[in-house]
């Protein structure tokens, strides 16, 4: 098991290195950061000086090597627009994004699995059919539109929930949380639903399809023939088998919840990393963009690793070496 995790971790490092290189070379085409830093009437000589001081004169590979070396030491560079270390900028914004992603994930998983199971077990009821139809909407509507519709309904028309920002936050060491104040919690609801809705409908449809498949298998028939209670058959046997393939997809989707919170954060002016990234793109703030991409890649890779480990926990057939030892 340990060897397996180590092997996957090594592969993850390779993935991150490639992502870093691609991100780095891509941003060379994003625009000239010097233009953003200096004024319009700055003399050419001064521009060249700024360029040299930032190391932008060197060949790409040299720049990348220098960047990679710095990153390994935890130094993600200085933001061009804020003149602050990128690491502290991201760290400052990270709690907002992670709390939002966490709520969206909990919402997507709990509601998605519940609705999926309901739709599979009560396939013929009108409520299940309604869920199915509504889920199509959730899958097809773009995130920003859902966000805007929710704002229109709950903030503008009904005035129940705030339309932007995090509300009041409490500082716990370096972490700022919105979980401890009423306005913080209220501010979380709309963005979390917006961010989680797509995943929720996807998980619901996936759970429904998988569970219908599982309910047709021989071992479920056999479980019924053994006289087990409906509850044991549905939730002990069918649901557990359903969740094996669902874990993979759900895991990957949750990575994208963090990565693609950009849109939701923009719609709700949520002070997280996504909003920071969008501002960085507008200002050609390469250090922030590169660091953000690396971070997202790292999150994806970590989630993948966790999913692989979870897989072996749930499915004994995958516990190759461990299974034989038992």
């Amino acid at each position: 098991m340990l060897a397996f995790i180590l092997r996957r971790a090594l592969q993850s490092v390779a993935v991150l290195a490639v992502v870093g290189l691609i991100a780095f070379s891509m941003f060379r085409f994003a625009g000239d950061p010097v233009n953003q830093i200096v004024g319009a009437d700055t003399p050419v000589a001064e521009r060249a000086e700024v360029r040299r001081s930032l190391g932008l004169d060197d060949p790409t590979l040299v720049q990348f090597a220098r960047y990679a070396g710095n990153v390994l030491r935890g130094n993600f560079g200085i933001s061009y627009q804020f003149r602050q270390p990128v690491a502290s900028l991201l760290a400052e914004r990270m709690p907002a994004t992670l709390e939002l992603a966490f709520c969206a994930t909990v919402f997507a998983l709990s509601v998605g699995i519940l609705m999926g199971v309901y739709c599979a077990l009560r396939r013929e009821t009108w409520l299940a059919k309604l869920f199915q139809a509504v889920s199509l909407v959730g899958v097809s509507l773009p995130t920003f539109l859902i966000g805007i519709l929710l704002i229109f309904l709950f903030s503008v028309t009904l005035g129940w929930l705030p339309s932007y920002g995090r509300g009041d936050t409490v500082r716990l060491g370096w972490w700022t949380t919105g979980f401890l104040t009423g306005s913080g919690l209220k501010a979380l609801i709309l963005p979390a639903i917006t961010l989680g809705l797509f995943q929720m409908t996807l998980i619901m449809r996936l759970v429904r399809a998988e569970m219908l498949e599982v309910l047709r298998t021989d071992y479920i028939r056999f479980a019924r023939a053994r006289g087990l209670t409906t509850r044991a058959v549905h939730f002990g046997h069918a649901l557990k088998n359903t969740l094996v393939p669902v874990i993979t997809i759900a895991g990957l989707q949750l990575g994208s919840v963090i990565a693609f919170s950009i849109i939701t954060e923009t719609v709700f002016q949520w002070p997280g990393m996504g909003l920071l990234f969008v501002q960085a793109v507008q200002n050609v703030d390469i250090p922030i963009m590169a660091a953000y991409l690396l971070l997202v890649a790292a999150i994806f890779v970590t989630i993948n690793l966790v999913v692989d480990v979870l897989y072996t926990v749930v499915d004994p057939r995958l516990r190759l070496s461990v299974g034989k030892a038992a």
Partner: protein
Amino acid sequence: MSDTVLSVRDLSVAFETRRGTLTAIDGVSFDIAKGEILGVVGESGAGKSVTGAAVIGLIDPPGRIAGGTITLRGERIDDLPPERMRRVRGRRIGMIFQDPLTSLDPLYRVGDQIVETIRTHTDLSQKAARARAIALLAEVGIPAPERRIDGYPHEFSGGMRQRVVIALALAAEPELIIADEPTTALDVSVQAQIITLLKRLCRDHGTAVMLVTHDMGVIAEAADRVAVMYSGRIAEIGPVADVVREPRHPYAAGLMGAIPTLTQSPGRLAQIPGSMPRLTAIPAGCAFHPRCPKVFSRCRVERPEPIPVGPSRVACHLFDAQENAA
């Protein structure tokens, strides 16, 4: 008969389809006594498995029992409410399915599945149920059961898994076991072991068995009596020696004639011309008449009812006293 375990009378099973109601089983009657093995043979689609599913109350919708009665030890079970029927399944009627590779839930240890079944139907403690599970595994011939009980299904071979399935079917000491093609998915050497095991267990426990198969060899080896099914009806039912050695119904005779023997010169195997009618196009009169070598006019219009012929009952006009007198 006082020791009759299962009594099926005029059982009909219908499937509602878009093209109307299809009758898969039509007026089937038979009894199984304590400790007796009744073999049920026939081609694919003759209704063997559906009969078994009807007895244990596991006909998948849109199928339903359309008529007749099923009584277990004098108690009618075909009209029990679902929850009471569930208590009958596993407790009083055990079932063995065709494919041992897919009959066990892959995510649970075999011991957990046996313990789960035992504890569903009895008041045994976890510890006592586990001891009983080990005893059951030993009884069905699994070596080192106290170690193997913690194995997962994928760690067992096909034959061993079928032994586990049999242990599961026996877990709550049922009065009747329905074995639906228990050896079809196994290779020949394992088939004989499983049949011997099944025979021994039923003798030891006095369990009645309904052995569904299309393998005449298995029937001749294991069964006390045999029912030959054709197109949802029983063509001939009687002691295995009579039916195999001296089949009376032309279809049964055709089936027996199609079995290759070691003594005959190897030539073309005998076969019954044509194939079994589809459920949508069952011919009038005797369903077998288009393929019957001894067909006469009455067969085309009047459906034969089972009539006693020696120790057997045969559904064929050839054996009607009127015909013989005429």
